[in-house]
Symmetry: C2
Subunit: 386 residues, 2 copies
């Protein structure tokens, strides 16, 4: 395609059958043209194709960009012979550059031809695999609903993956379950809240963030139309797949050398626990300390304290370790446990670190993931457009 050299810049996911669909988009007021278009297209709970370009975010591009997004959907619909409203489009890359519509349309043509080469017979999963040329983050799972095997596959693109940009996060999941689109929407929103919304690389929410799922019923199960046991089983698998993809995104965050799991327990509310995780995992001071394997845990307490959550610091227990089962206690009832700093430093040398804050305020809890902040992050981001 040539928008960016050395990489394929287009991904296409296609379901031969019409599918239930749901999507969650960026909350950013400044949102990309493809986000505006896809919001409309997914509103009826149906979709059949997802097409994604990288290299250009198609944001702050005005009328020209809007027409480009529409053209992407129209070209895809035409080549696949499906309604244009059943195409979800997404973009990632530099903001504010004219959208290279022609190049992207050529890329779509090429991708559809590759689908034909495979006789358009591949399962949804095979189609997803086609996209891994572009996306290196993927996950796959299968599970039984009654006697039917359900397949679910997901691909994701996060900060630093294709190339550094707004920290845009894109994730697309396809599934062959038969499920009502309202339920699919509800499941996706809940899973995104607990996974993709609980990761941070640098705290910036992109103009382009999109997580979408299509589920086409090809597995042949009796359609799920209420929140029964079958729904719960599907939900658990969906959340697990989303968590897998979310952690891959963090691991591959720009300049990341460590993956940190944050657990806040015994909080008054789940939202309190999440808010503390978001603030701590996004603190530059916490992240640089983790990069430097520096047991400067006062920064964790300092960040927790400014999260806008009311708690009593003198009831806090704090632990850091190379995993949740092997961690060093640093604070007990808000007081430093003697001589813990050198033990903590040892634990922090691992590439996976767990930080556990027990607030002793209630029974709610949450978990989230973050990276460290390294020289490499600065290098990547100080030298992006130039």
């Amino acid at each position: 395609m040539g928008i960016k050299s050395k990489r394929r810049d287009l991904a296409l996911i296609y379901s031969e059958k019409p599918a239930s669909a749901a999507a969650v988009f960026t909350q950013n007021v400044v949102c990309a043209e493809p986000v505006k278009l896809s919001r409309k297209h997914v509103a009826d709970g149906k979709a059949q194709a997802i097409v994604v370009n990288s290299g250009n975010a198609n944001a702050c591009t005005g009328e020209q960009g809007w027409k480009g997004a529409v053209a992407m959907a129209e070209k895809t619909a035409e080549l696949l012979d499906i309604p244009v409203e059943d195409v979800i489009v997404a973009s990632t890359g530099l903001i504010g550059e004219p959208f290279p519509t022609e190049k992207v349309l050529n890329g779509i043509e090429e991708s559809v031809h590759k689908l034909s080469d495979r006789e358009m017979a591949g399962s949804l999963t095979a189609n997803a695999i086609l996209t891994t040329d572009t996306f290196a983050k993927e996950g796959f799972t299968d599970f039984k609903i009654e006697d039917t095997t359900i397949n679910m596959a997901g691909i994701a693109k996060g900060s630093g993956m294709i190339h550094p940009n707004m920290g845009t996060m894109l994730a697309f999941i396809n599934c062959d379950l038969a499920i009502d689109s309202d339920l699919l929407d509800e499941a996706l929103r809940e899973a995104v809240n607990k996974t993709f919304n609980m990761i941070t690389v640098d705290g910036d929410t992109s103009t382009n963030d999109t997580v979408a799922i299509i589920s086409n019923g090809a597995a042949g199960n009796e359609k799920i139309t209420k929140k029964d046991e079958r729904y719960e089983r599907f939900y658990r698998n969906l959340e697990e797949l989303c968590q897998h993809l979310a952690k891959l995104i963090v691991s591959d965050g720009e300049g990341a050398t460590k993956l940190v799991e944050y657990r806040v327990e015994q909080a008054a509310t789940e939202e309190d626990a999440r808010q503390i995780i978001r603030t701590v995992s996004d603190s530059s001071l916490v992240k640089t300390a983790i990069f430097g394997t520096d047991p400067n845990w006062g920064r964790i307490m300092g960040a927790a304290g400014r999260a806008g959550v009311d708690f009593d610091p003198e009831k806090v227990d704090l632990f850091i370790g190379s995993d949740a089962d092997r961690s060093v206690q640093i604070l007990k009832d808000g007081q430093p446990v003697k001589e813990s700093r050198s033990d903590v430093k040892k634990e922090m040398q691992a590439s996976n670190i767990t930080v556990i804050l027990k607030l002793n305020e209630g029974t709610a809890k949450a978990v989230g993931w973050g990276s460290d902040l390294s020289y490499e992050y600065i290098r990547i981001n100080a030298e992006y457009t130039t």
Copy 2:
């Protein structure tokens, strides 16, 4: 004192006369012992001395730390022969280390003797100058209220100044104006909101942040007891001094190579304008782009859009320049102005940069200041305790 080598670690400000006093403290739930103590001591609107140690934050130190903070106030009160409730204490440094009470008390003794050497006759200003051994950020102003000359001096300590820590911000102002303490409190809160609260180095709010003012009436003016013209004159000078100190803190932020002034204009409300400034100036992506003189202004729009403020991106005008009067227009009505990127890159090479966002939503505006994010920030913060 020896808590940290190579620097004096104690500052003392003393007014020979009892003074009106006001202070603004960190909103962090996890706050240092000296903050807890000083909140009580300043509650009656009076103070006569401010004593500050660095090297140890006296936070997460429990009972031992509380006793240390009380001992600091008691020792200062005893040596200066003033009520203990009229001493404001502050600390900055590493969190969660036992507080070195004895060393700090020795430092206080030494400082008071130096006051005596100068025959304890110096003006407030002279006493403030004594503290510049520790604090390199200072400002001084005088102005007339009716026929009386008023002197006002301020000192500040910010990130990276004494040594890197929680990004703690301390600022202390002394003045010889006679003013009611309630009005002094109101003036300080408003000035802090418009200056110290509008700067960011890394977005972390410390456990120790303190801004305090004492004003002892030595100038001999008729006491200000209402918001008249004299109050307004005092307020303008106070805000100007606070802005001067705040900008010094940012300029000397950890690893900072550039000072960025952010102006949001034509906002619906002043709070909207401030919120956008806080979010943009704190964005790692914006800060790394500024460090790299990278005209990747899409990051500014992306950050503005996630500030939680409702505005129409298609009405935004965006300018970047080496100062407010000399800036390049990047967006007009939300659309890129052609060929601006290379001009912007030229402007961004200056060490002082101004970013102006005009929202076209109303008439409110705000201004704030931030730094860039450099390799040096990572180096400093990844290697702090170790």
